[in-house]
């Protein structure tokens, strides 16, 4: 397998421009000859589908939701980064590039990150033109705030619902194209396989979730914008239905998977409350602009937070990282919280939480200002816990949130299968070993609005694409595989539910492949996941039939894929004998307990090819080259 490097060489600053001029164009009248299948309608998928539709391509956009407006991008709270230097605090494209690369602990591609920083300002222009009601200063200009891993204020926001507003803008752009007839939006469709013809991606097999019918959608290119896989842990901040099936099925058809073990834990989530808990809820990182995180100095201190005097509180992030304080990147924030809890300072049931305290900010600026900034977050917190965070400090704990790993893509966002593109969280490309806050929305929209529409044209213009039929041999074989898998699941009638297996998998992965990883733990987890998978295919039960709305069947299929992906995550974490960003191997740490990278041996992307039956998957590497001098990440 060839890992093409399509990024031009030369100075970073001109690379994207140069690549754009190298890429061939498709003439406006020829575009309608091409059919593009976009799977997923979140920020990346909706923006890509709408833009391709505007350009004149025929686009089919599939979403498993009942409406494209529900994709999980909707839940992003805090904001979107852009290098506009509107705060006059020294920001620039260079600095956003630098912060993002260093935030990712030098495990992302320089070319990609630089392009992202260059495009960031245009995303805001585009969103404002679409009518996104970003927060404004009294003078009418755009307001900004700060996020972790940055010393400048470059995050644009709409209260605590920035993702919702950006998604609605992309959804409305999609609606505009649907009305114009250039995009057909197919709701309640789940992609279950990829169709590869003559080595090129030419379509997908999808299930109509209402009728259960298997549909074949063929075309000239396939774009996966299906998000991340943090739900592999069962408890995560992802929406209940977020899953890995589309990218995993593509992987099984040959697309390489990069850095599967890179998973971000978000430090400020509401802690798990009990065995009935269905998912975890995030409290935006933006709160750390005004909040201080602390635990009682004395382990096991059970006094109410307001009864603990200042001198007996440990503001552990400010102590550990005086320069960045509460605004350290998420990987460091989460691990610091875990450490104080491991030492017995945690609060709340099970002592796994820390306080997020807004009282200093409320005393300084007034409660009204905080309500204006975070009103909907406070309301959400009150609905869930019954407490008002302006009176009682919030209790927060780390939770699986975002996956930096994903399908391997080149600079053009194309996977190892020609004609198969992956954008947004579904790919691995820009976030390295740790994503900075407010960078996911930026990446999804940069990919969808600006990068993919150019690179896809370059592919289509140069690709020999023979006509493809829904009844071709490859399409029929893919349909038969999907049907056989569904029939197997329905025929098992075992004793355990898919959810039961999912919870068990989540426990194994959270222990062994979570905030801390060790050689022994990972080796053991690989066997445990394999055993769970075997048990699943012997003992799962799925009621109902294939030809109906069958949510348990949907779930079982997704859990089956998680059970394969979970093993690959552990293999990846085991093979990377260093610590970097989110990937903290206990064997590789500095005397201060920070991650110790090994740039000699591991300054590369781990690229996994699919396992042949009965064989282990193969690990290839894509070396990372840096113009910038590598250095130890320091937020102290």
């Amino acid at each position: 397998m060839m890992l093409r490097d399509t990024a031009p060489s030369g100075p970073l600053a001109g690379r994207w421009q140069r690549r754009r001029s190298e890429l061939q164009l498709v003439g406006p009248t020829r575009r309608r000859r091409y059919q593009v299948i976009v799977v997923g309608a979140g920020l990346a998928g909706a923006s890509a589908a709408a833009t391709l539709g505007e350009l004149g391509y025929r686009v089919r956009c599939l979403t498993f939701h009942d409406s494209p407006r529900r994709a999980h991008s909707v839940a992003a709270q805090g904001g979107i980064n852009a290098a506009r230097d509107s705060a006059n605090d020294g920001d620039s494209v260079e600095r956003l590039f630098h912060d993002t690369l260093e935030g990712g602990d030098f495990r992302s591609r320089e070319s990609n990150v630089y392009r992202l920083a260059e495009l960031s300002a245009r995303i805001i222009d585009q969103a404002v033109a679409q009518g996104v009601p970003f927060a404004r200063e009294y003078g009418g200009h755009l307001a900004t705030r700060s996020f972790g891993g940055a010393l400048v204020s470059r995050t644009f926001y709409a209260r605590g619902q920035t993702g919702q507003q950006l998604l609605l803008a992309a959804y409305q752009a999609l609606a505009k194209e649907a009305a114009a007839g250039s995009v057909s939006v197919l709701a309640r469709r789940e992609m279950l396989d990829l169709i590869v013809v003559d080595g090129r991606a030419r379509g997908v097999v999808a299930r109509d979730l209402v009728s259960g019918a298997l549909e074949t959608h063929v075309g000239d290119a396939v774009v996966l914008a299906t998000g991340g896989y943090a739900n592999v842990y069962f408890l995560s901040t992802n929406a209940k239905a977020s899953n890995a099936t589309a990218i995993w099925r593509a992987h099984r058809r040959g697309a390489a998977f990069a850095n599967p073990g890179f998973v971000q834990f978000h430090p400020t989530c509401l802690p798990a409350a009990g065995e009935h808990q269905a998912k975890l809820t995030l409290m935006s990182e933006s709160l750390r602009n005004d909040a201080r995180l602390w635990v009682p100095r004395r382990p096991g201190d059970d006094r109410r937070p307001e009864a603990i005097p200042e001198a007996e509180r440990d503001y552990f992030l400010e102590r550990r990282y005086p320069r960045y304080g509460n605004l350290v990147p998420r990987d460091l924030g989460s691990r610091a919280a875990k450490l104080v809890c491991d030492e017995g300072h945690g609060v709340g049931p099970g002592r796994r939480a820390v306080y997020l305290d807004l009282s200093d900010a409320a005393a300084r600026g007034g409660a009204a200002v905080l309500r204006e900034r975070y009103g909907n977050l406070f309301e959400l917190y009150r609905h869930i816990t019954g407490d008002d965070p302006l009176h009682v400090p919030m209790r927060v704990a780390p939770a699986a949130h975002y996956t930096m790993g994903g399908l391997w893509v080149d600079y053009d966002l194309m996977s190892t299968i020609p004609g198969l593109f992956a954008i947004g969280e579904a790919n691995f490309s820009d976030q390295g070993a740790n994503r900075l806050g407010a960078s996911a929305l930026m990446q999804g929209l940069a990919d969808g609005y600006f990068v993919l529409p150019c690179t896809l044209a370059g592919y289509l213009a140069g690709a020999p694409l023979a006509p493809v039929s829904e009844d071709g041999a490859e399409a029929r074989a893919a349909r038969a595989d999907v049907r056989a898998r569904i029939e197997t699941l329905l025929a098992l009638s075992g004793r355990r539910t898919a959810g039961d297996f999912h919870r068990a998998l989540g426990r194994v992965l959270a222990d062994a492949c979570g905030l801390e990883r060790s050689r022994d733990g990972l080796a053991k987890a690989i066997d445990e996941v394999a055993a769970l998978r075997e048990a699943f295919w012997a003992d799962v039960t799925v009621p109902g039939g294939p030809g109906e709305l069958n949510q348990e069947l949907e779930r079982a299929g997704r859990v089956a894929d998680f059970l394969e992906l979970g093993e690959l995550m552990c293999r990846d974490a085991l093979a990377r004998e260093e610590s970097c960003g989110c990937h903290f191997r206990v064997e590789h740490q500095t005397p201060e307990g920070e991650a110790r990278r090994d740039d000699e041996a591991f300054a590369h992307v781990a690229v996994w090819t699919p396992a042949a039956p009965g064989r282990s998957p193969r690990r290839l590497v894509e070396p990372l080259h840096f113009e910038m001098a590598l250095r130890e990440r320091s937020y102290r």
């Binding site: 585009q126 009294y138 609606a175």
Partner: protein, 273 residues
């Protein structure tokens, strides 16, 4: 806590459907109603019975997927929340809770508590957007937007598209939903050029889909999980009237022009707003 769930079970759109009763015990009070449903479903699946179908995704009140009529009220008894955020502590111990789909003529039942709300998407497709292409946008800060206008736009844009307003309305009207989209874009300078066209096409699309007319019962605003109020319907009516009059006058000189609906919308911040 102990609760009983009386749930509407309907296999598909052709099935007549009826209520089934399920008893659940031993649930902590901060379990959410949907987590109790998850529990019930695990129990049903273990017995090989079809679980209760319901839509739900983010479980934090923002995606708009969930929507159940709980004891006769869309999204249940707690004001300003979605179904997914309803904790059991909002009910009394031992209560029987009735769960029905968001049933209106325009939202046909797909299965159990799942309905088809695609009519709302088709209404947005009729013009609920700013017609701007990717790439041609001017510098974002070249267009100052009054802070108050941005806040007002966001209040309306907070709509999550759940359809509770329609389910709550005795007329099955989507006026709150349509009004929220119009108020969002109408509050911003970017939304002005298409404002008159937008109100006409959206209202026509809602009529075409079979949503009822608004007679200001106000049930929609009590059911709305994001606090969108009847003010957006008042603005809808005003815009609709002006647009209709402008059409009637044909945009002759000196008369209101449909492309310039409301010159009072500030494009720059007034002092002290």
């Amino acid at each position: 806590m102990k609760i009983a769930l009386r749930i509407w079970r309907q296999h598909d759109s052709a099935d007549a459907g009826d209520f089934r009763r399920y008893e659940l015990g031993d649930l902590p009070a901060d379990t959410t109603l949907l987590e109790a449903l998850d529990d019930l479903n695990e129990w049903l699946v273990e017995r090989g019975e079809p679980p209760v179908a319901f839509d739900s995704d983010c479980r934090e009140g923002i995606c708009g997927a969930c929507g159940i009529v709980v004891d006769g009220r869309p999204h249940g008894p707690v004001p300003g929340t979605t179904t997914c955020l309803l904790p059991l502590r909002a009910f009394r111990d031992g209560a029987t809770i009735t769960l029905e789909p968001f049933c209106t003529g325009v939202f046909p039942v797909v299965r159990d508590l799942v309905v088809d709300r695609s009519a709302l998407d088709r209404v947005v497709q009729a013009g609920g957007y700013v017609s701007v292409r990717t790439g041609g946008a001017p510098d974002a800060d070249a267009l100052p937007v009054a802070r108050a206008a941005a806040e007002r736009a966001l209040d309306a844009a907070a709509c999550i598209g759940c359809g509770a307003c329609v389910a709550a309305c005795p007329n099955g009207s989507a006026s709150l939903f349509v009004g929220a989209k119009l108020a969002h874009l109408g509050a911003l300078p970017q939304g002005q050029p298409e404002r008159a066209r937008r109100v006409s096409t959206l209202v026509a699309a809602a009529d075409r889909e079979g949503f009822g007319g608004c007679t200001l019962h106000g049930e929609c605003q009590s059911a709305c999980p994001t606090h969108i109020d009847l003010g957006v319907i008042a603005r809808l009516n005003r815009d609709y009237l002006i647009a209709a009059l402008a059409r009637w006058w044909g945009g002759s000189p000196g008369k209101p022009d449909a492309t310039d609906l409301d010159p009072r919308v500030p494009t720059a911040a007034p002092a002290g707003s």
